[in-house]
Symmetry: C2
Subunit: 354 residues, 2 copies
């Protein structure tokens, strides 16, 4: 394990994020001192840590067991707190992670991402060492997989991003992103309506244009292109949001994080003790396989984390405890399994019109 | 399922490979008629189909059950034959696939791959429609996962590639690639020596420089970078081989394919009835999770297949029937599990010196 640690360290160095150090207990703030302790960085950290506390409390109450907590910091600043529940009474695996990252990315990556290279803009007046662009990212992310195949999996993630870029003519150096989405193995229309409805109500309080736009974005994002099917039945997803006052966007992200419990928890409570057959359990495991396919092949958060030297165990916490791949498994016509698959292939434009 | 088929078809069209049509029985050849029925394309197809037959026969004899066969062709030429054994007596899942693909790839992809763009070369005198470069690929690929955690998983793949490129100053438009590698959950040094030794003997008959070079290449290729560990204990891997007479390379690929049975089958026979604990079975499932990570995040064959519209069920046949992800699972010091992990982290330079 000495050699593994050395390998991880050398990998992290070349990728621009320092190796993390595990610590005994979570510190009051993961931010660097002074400059970051006020303003949006501090407000956002406070929000995601309160959300982690309140959502963990709600899940612990349903499950009857406690989350295990791991905390770490990095020498140059930043860190994270992972809370994981494995093999609980209700949940097979649930993880809620907050992290604060001070990192750098190659200049070319930043230019490519923002399109400034093509426009001949983006001349740098001040850069980090070796032409790398400093960035700051803070976020909460979570996946919860219940045991019962009738109870759905949920994922949510809310994040705030800044670059220290001093590029002339570059885009504004901050944005918000996030979303909450549901992955059931069996489709209950009234559950889908409750979930989407709760998210829609929260969106509507901020902007009635949000829900329709972010619902479609979610359907487009969580897409296993090679199978022509979505991971689940969606919810909302948004990224690169910086078109209004940052305080308004913080308020929106806060309300969305707070809507996870009312949107999701009633569905788990309703189905956690449902009867099920061995065939239904196997179908859940096959859907978990699709979940793994999406996260490892397409998910930007996962692939970004894997490629920038983040803490692997926290990034891959999203993977289910167990998954299954059967060759050429096709649900019977007219079955409940086919009904779910159809919703993943052709999501309804309007869940409330069903 | 009608909409799924339509989605797959439209996807395949935009990617340049036509949608496959399932057929009742495998045809005598998957090649287009006339022009391809002689020469290397025909010789290579004959070799991989004979290898599929002989390796399937050896596995069926060990397992006591039969492979299921699916065959397909594409309207414009090419096709494949998948043979799958699922939930056999000895094997949890085993697949041996041959395929012949006539496709096109974007000109930019070809130039980027060959480096001709940078050198200012590669002016095309004759191109496929819409500036795409035609290619031909034929190969055999296989993964076999036994049930017993003491019995190792094997993977092999042998392929022949041609481009119809008429580029001036471009590289030679054909090459061979392939390899055979072992993924045990528990390390038995004498098994590793038998496996590597059989491959080395076959390599040595063709060129004594092959084994050391291809052993290192294999260790570098089957690498889960985010974990700092290899998928298994390697074997041999090579690609882009066109530095000698194609007939010599065909003879080498043929001998390598024929060495799969003597290298692998004795190990399965030896361990298929070993006693094991529940903990050992869980460790196998965790290692299967790492296998999934490699195949979905890094493997070129898998990602190429997923992104060019190949037959999904055949491409993902390589995934295990079941896999497991435990949060922060670390083997006990001095355990058999740690011994395997150490070999994945720091593979010995010379298996025969142990």
């Amino acid at each position: 394990t000495v050699s593994a640690a050395a390998a991880a360290e050398s990998k992290a160095e070349e990728k621009g994020i320092e190796k993390e150090e595990m610590i005994e207990a979570a510190p009051s703030s993961l931010l660097r001192e002074e400059a970051d302790a006020t303003g949006m960085r501090a407000s956002f950290e406070k929000m995601i840590r309160e959300a982690q506390d309140s959502i963990c409390a709600a899940i612990e109450e349903i499950d009857g067991t406690k989350f295990h907590e791991d905390a770490w910091t990095r020498p140059g600043g930043g860190g994270g707190i992972s809370r994981v529940m494995q093999n609980g009474n209700v949940f097979e695996k649930a993880g809620i992670n907050v992290s604060v990252v001070y990192g750098t990315m190659p200049q070319e990556a930043y230019r490519a991402a923002t399109g400034t290279a093509e426009k001949g803009e983006g001349k740098s007046t001040e850069q980090g060492k070796a032409g790398r662009i400093p960035f700051f990212a803070a976020g909460i992310s979570s996946v919860m997989h219940p045991k019962n195949p009738k109870a759905p999996t949920v994922h949510f993630n809310y994040r705030y991003f800044e670059t220290d870029s001093q590029m002339e003519g570059g885009p504004r150096g901050w944005w918000f992103g996030g979303g909450t989405d549901l992955t059931p193995s069996y489709l209950f229309t009234e559950d889908a309506q409750h979930f989407h409805g709760t998210l829609k109500d929260t969106c509507d309080k901020h902007d009635e244009a949000f829900y329709p736009r972010f619902k479609t974005w979610c359907d487009e994002y969580f897409y296993n292109q090679h199978r022509g099917e979505r991971r689940g039945i969606g919810g909302v997803f948004f990224d690169d949001m910086n078109d209004r006052d940052p305080e308004e966007l913080l308020a929106f992200a806060t309300d969305m994080a707070n809507s996870v419990v009312p949107a999701y928890c009633p569905l788990v409570v309703k189905h956690k003790d449902d009867e099920f057959t061995e065939t239904e359990k196997e179908w859940q495991q096959i859907r978990r396989g699709r979940y793994v396919e999406f996260n490892l092949v397409y998910d930007r958060g996962t692939t970004f984390g894997l490629k920038t030297g983040g803490r692997i165990e926290s990034i891959l916490m999203s993977l289910p405890l167990t998954a299954r791949w059967e060759y050429d498994q096709v649900p019977e016509e007219g079955s409940e399994e086919e009904k779910l698959l159809e919703a993943c292939r052709n999501p309804p434009d309007d869940w409330f019109a069903l």
